[in-house]
């Protein structure tokens, strides 16, 4: 009745207006996620830029100038990709992050060597070979594995895997790249298996039927038909699993050994980017070169994971598109 005009006709215009308010309220709430991502990118880069910027602006021979004080006298942009990391020192400070970048690479690749075969095998077996109930149980197990807090994985690595690696491989310290890679491979497993299984599941049943009808065995069907048609999704799953391994902090902090020295040897103690940030942030003074250098590493980490996520998304989109075409 509230929307009724004096002449008795309902005022549709007003009702339509009211009807549209909710649409914009919920759109605004949805935009919060966009805002959150924007804030993350902005704050990481805003705190990283002073580091890069001042390093470039202050020439080497100029001595103690600029409001940034003596911190930046001997550093240049290129130093970020050198191999000496000595952020707090009385004489000269070095901000080479190459040891951390190499460590992250070594540990992640090491983890993938294990996680990819195990993760994909499990996905294929459970999705294509085993019975239906196995799949339900398996998905639950993966969900529980994915839910284990990373610090618990780290603790497990420290108490069980590190001593094992030390004794059996006869190295000085069990806290090294290999132990970190082992833990990370377990942590990447649920992501890889679960998403790869989804990709296999998305392959239309007509493909299986056609291949079997031509006389192929089940294995030939899986190997030559189903896996190739799901390959985009499988690649996406592997990239996402890798992204998880790159960004993992607490587990790696416990078991990687944390030595900031440049080495490609997986049996040496390593300090990946994430550990470096977590370790040093508590000691660094706000606004110091050290503080900003950690944000610069954070920016690098964010950039790597964003690129990985978007690549995975692109592969996933390709899978969907291909299947869309098939349906039509």
């Amino acid at each position: 009745m509230g929307h009724t005009k004096v002449d008795g006709k309902p005022n549709l215009k007003i009702r339509m207006k009211h009807r549209n308010v909710d649409r914009y309220v919920f759109f605004a709430l949805a935009l919060v996620s966009l805002l959150t991502l924007g804030t993350i990118i902005y704050f990481i880069f805003a705190e990283a830029v002073p580091f890069l910027d001042k390093m470039r602006l202050v020439p080497e021979e100029q001595g103690t100038t600029s409001k940034w004080g003596e911190h930046f006298t001997d550093t240049r942009l290129g130093d970020l990709f050198t191999s000496t990391w000595r952020p707090e020192s009385d004489r000269e400070e070095f901000f080479g992050t190459l040891p951390m970048i190499v460590a992250t690479t070594v540990v992640t690749l090491g983890a993938m060597v294990l996680a990819i075969p195990f993760g994909l095998s499990a996905a294929v077996f459970v999705g294509e070979v085993g019975p239906r109930w196995l799949k339900d149980v398996f998905k639950t197990v993966l969900e529980l594995l994915a839910a284990v807090p990373s610090i618990v994985y780290g603790f497990f690595g420290l108490i069980i895997i590190a001593p094992f690696v030390r004794v059996h491989l006869d190295v000085v310290s069990g806290s090294n790249g290999l132990t970190a890679a082992l833990i990370l491979s377990i942590m990447a497993l649920p992501t890889i298996s679960s998403l790869a299984e989804d990709a296999l599941h998305a392959v239309p049943n007509t493909y299986r039927e056609a291949s079997l009808a031509l006389g192929a065995t089940r294995w030939q069907t899986i190997w030559r038909t189903i896996i190739p048609s799901a390959s985009s999704g499988i690649i996406g799953a592997v990239i996402l699993g890798m992204g998880r391994a790159v960004g993992e902090t607490m587990a790696v902090l416990f078991v990687a050994g944390n030595a900031p020295f440049l080495t490609w040897n997986i049996l040496r103690p390593l300090r990946p980017i994430t550990s470096a940030i977590a370790l040093d942030m508590q000691e660094s003074v706000r606004g110091s070169a050290h503080f900003h250098s950690l944000f610069a590493m954070g920016a690098l980490l964010l950039l790597i994971t964003l690129i990985m996520n978007w690549t995975a998304e692109w592969f996933h989109g390709r899978l969907l598109k291909r299947q869309g075409l098939k349906g039509g």
Partner: protein, 297 residues
């Protein structure tokens, strides 16, 4: 067909089935790994940790550099932090999910927000820690506090909650919506009276999963909310630091080179953390299965 070619064919078939048998066995063995590992880690934690659990351990504060006493402040702190983060995140997450499932029109915005949610889910947890430090601790001046930690964890759980809620909303059948609309309800009335109540169990399940994720996170709160062995164990305001289960474990491991007496307390802390996380997850999984089975439509 000659005898010869038939023989060849039979050879081929045996060879093919051998290959298949070998391949399936290898795959089967590889897929056992996940089961084996989960069983092992649970067994290990229960065996080592259960003996540390006592009424005193669960209800008192740590004493003597955490070598004695319990972990009550950490349990309380983790609960505060996690509950707070959900209170901050749920309105936004639910709103976004409602937009995605009920209002979104196909096009640029929908794609942008979907990609955003997926991207947020892939941001490393340490990056959330850095952002929390830059934004909440320094820029907004909350300091290292419960409030900063809540907001940081809210950012982290946002994508999880959005995805779970959207899935729950999408599971509501079209006919429910059509029925409501055909009775003259506006879209918002339809959502409020039909869609949300139907999707509520699913949304709650998603929230429980988000909570399980938030309670175990360490990296986002280590510079924004928490500290090891606080002089004042229980926070009295939003602007104070809190003790949390995962950070307490981290602290114990860090000092264990000097104090070796904390082993059983470390295992006890891991046990409590894992018990909480696993129970939350199992509850959500079982609840979800029951809801799906009970569906009349």
């Amino acid at each position: 067909m000659t005898d010869r070619s038939l023989e060849n064919l039979q050879d081929g078939i045996t060879k093919r089935s051998m290959t298949q048998w070998i391949a399936f066995s290898l795959l089967g063995v590889a897929s056992l790994f996940g089961f084996f590992f989960l069983a092992f880690i649970l067994y290990w934690i229960i065996r080592q940790g259960a003996s540390a659990i006592s009424w005193e351990f669960l209800t008192t504060a740590p004493r003597n550099m955490a070598q004695e006493g319990g972990i009550a402040p950490m349990i309380i702190g983790s609960v505060y932090l996690t509950a707070g983060s959900l209170i901050v995140a749920i309105p936004f997450a639910l709103g976004a999910a409602i937009w995605l499932s009920e209002y979104a029109w196909k096009g640029w915005w929908l794609r942008a927000i979907r990609v955003t949610v997926n991207t947020l889910a892939g941001v490393p947890s340490i990056v959330f820690g850095l952002v929390g430090l830059g934004l909440f601790v320094y820029a907004l001046g909350f300091g290292v506090s419960l409030l900063s930690g809540m907001c940081t964890l809210a950012m982290l759980t946002l994508p999880i909650l959005i995805r779970a809620s959207e899935e729950a909303l999408r599971a509501v059948p079209r006919t429910f919506r059509e029925g409501s609309l055909s009775l003259g309800a506006t879209r918002w009335t339809m959502i409020r009276t039909v869609v949300l109540p139907t999707a509520l169990p699913g949304i709650l399940t998603g929230s429980v999963l988000g909570m399980a994720r938030a309670i175990g996170e360490t990296a986002p709160i280590m510079f924004t909310a928490t500290a090891f062995l606080l002089t004042q164990p229980y926070p009295t305001s939003l602007f104070e630091r809190v003790s949390t289960l995962p950070y307490h474990l981290y602290g114990l491991v860090q000092i264990s080179n000097f104090y070796n007496e904390t082993k059983s307390i470390q295992f006890g802390t891991v046990f409590v953390l894992m018990a909480v996380v696993t129970l939350l997850n199992l509850t959500a999984i079982i609840w979800r299965t029951r809801v799906r089975r009970k569906k009349a439509w």
